[in-house]
């Protein structure tokens, strides 16, 4: 008889109450229990950053957390940013300077950028590069992502 644990987790403003196996990874909970497929899984050992989400306002790898560990937390995923019709300034910036190609790693970069710009609304290129160092991208060589982070800062300041 597999143990199930009650959790109450708020994701993108909606409270979800579920019974989950203790071993269920947060990334699987978000993707397969809640159907929020924007959060991607790239390595499942906490290094690539594709699964990065915000937990109570702070970035974390959702693949190296058990869902039960974040019971009662407030989680934000890429779906909490803009929509197809109206994108978030960070998303606009990524599109404008071609900071994504296959787009698989992108949601992780976006969430990392959200937290970073809150703490540093006007970053230098060097600061922006360091901020995204914990997210892997195989397509872009990072140059355009660094540029996008800085452009996003300008756009958000203008808002």
């Amino acid at each position: 008889m597999t143990q199930k644990v009650k959790v109450a987790i708020t994701v993108n403003g909606t409270l979800y109450e579920r019974e989950v196996e203790p071993r269920l990874l947060l990334s699987d909970f978000i993707r397969h229990e809640l159907g929020l497929k924007g959060t991607h899984v790239g390595c499942e050992h906490g290094l690539c950053g594709a699964c990065t989400v915000l937990i109570d306002g702070h970035t974390a790898r959702s693949c190296t957390l058990f869902t039960v560990m974040v019971d009662g937390s407030d989680i934000k995923t890429v779906e909490s940013l803009g929509t197809m019709e109206e994108m978030h300034p960070i998303q606009e910036a990524f599109s404008e300077v071609h900071a994504l190609q296959c787009g698989f790693c992108t949601p992780g970069f976006l969430m990392t950028t959200v937290e970073f710009l809150e703490g540093n609304p006007n970053p230098t290129a060097e600061e922006a590069r360091e901020a995204i160092d914990g997210n892997f991208c195989r397509c872009t060589g990072y140059e355009n992502i660094v540029e996008a982070v800085q452009l996003a800062a300008k756009k958000m300041a203008a808002h």
Binding site: H45, G46, L47, T64
Partner: protein
């Protein structure tokens, strides 16, 4: 991986050799051993539950003993298999009497580690292997001192603890005492195992953790 080294035991060769027959010694140096049974005169099966730091795993394995020349030398062939992977090893051990009455133990072995153990556990192998071998010999030295002292005074051998996982040592000791019916070779192997194979096994399992 290849392992080799020497260790000087501060005592005569016979005492060193005999020491290996003592289940308490074994107990202190083989944490997690659950059972060790003889398949035939020179083949043995063992189950052990290894747990060190954050990592743990159940392993079962076999050992063969070859060309035992008491109290001089022997060759060990063995392997273990568990969910995290497998291990196969060969080890040669020699005991050399030295003029100053000490005994020089020379060991060299080659161990092939496979599975997740090898593929994601590279980072730590060296420091863990070193640590395990070091603590293994520290234990042995203590054992020998205790035994020699006891021999001197004709008293009981004082029980001693391994530097880590002391709790385990005690539990295993109990199991081991039940093994008096086993042949000398069995016990010999059972002890040599930690020094050559299990030490490496632990090392490898250990080094797999952390990311």
């Amino acid at each position: 991986m290849k392992i080799e080294g020497t260790h000087v035991f501060n005592g005569p060769r016979e005492d060193v050799w005999d020491m290996f027959y003592d289940p308490n010694v074994l107990a202190s140096a083989l944490p997690g051993a659950q059972k060790m049974e003889m398949v035939n005169e020179d083949e043995f099966k063992f189950d052990m539950n290894v747990r060190v730091g954050p990592v743990s795993g159940a392993f079962s394995g076999e050992l063969q003993l070859e060309n035992v020349v008491k109290p001089d030398s022997l060759t060990l062939k063995g392997g273990g298999k568990g969910a995290p992977g497998f291990l196969n090893g060969v080890g040669n051990i020699k005991f050399k009497e030295q003029e100053d009455g000490t005994t020089l133990m020379e060991y060299e072995g080659e161990v092939n580690i496979g599975g997740a153990l090898a593929s994601v556990g590279q980072r730590m192998i060296d420091s863990v292997a070193k640590s395990m071998i070091r603590t293994g010999f520290e234990t042995l030295d203590k054992a020998l001192v205790a035994r020699l002292a006891a021999k001197e005074s004709g008293s009981e051998v004082v029980d001693f603890k391994a530097p880590t996982e002391a709790q385990f040592a005690k539990e295993v000791a109990k199991d081991m005492v039940k093994m008096d019916n086993l042949s000398a070779e069995t016990k010999l192997i059972i002890y040599i195992v930690p020094v050559i194979a299990v030490i490496i096994l632990l090392a490898v399992i250990l080094n797999s953790c952390g990311a």
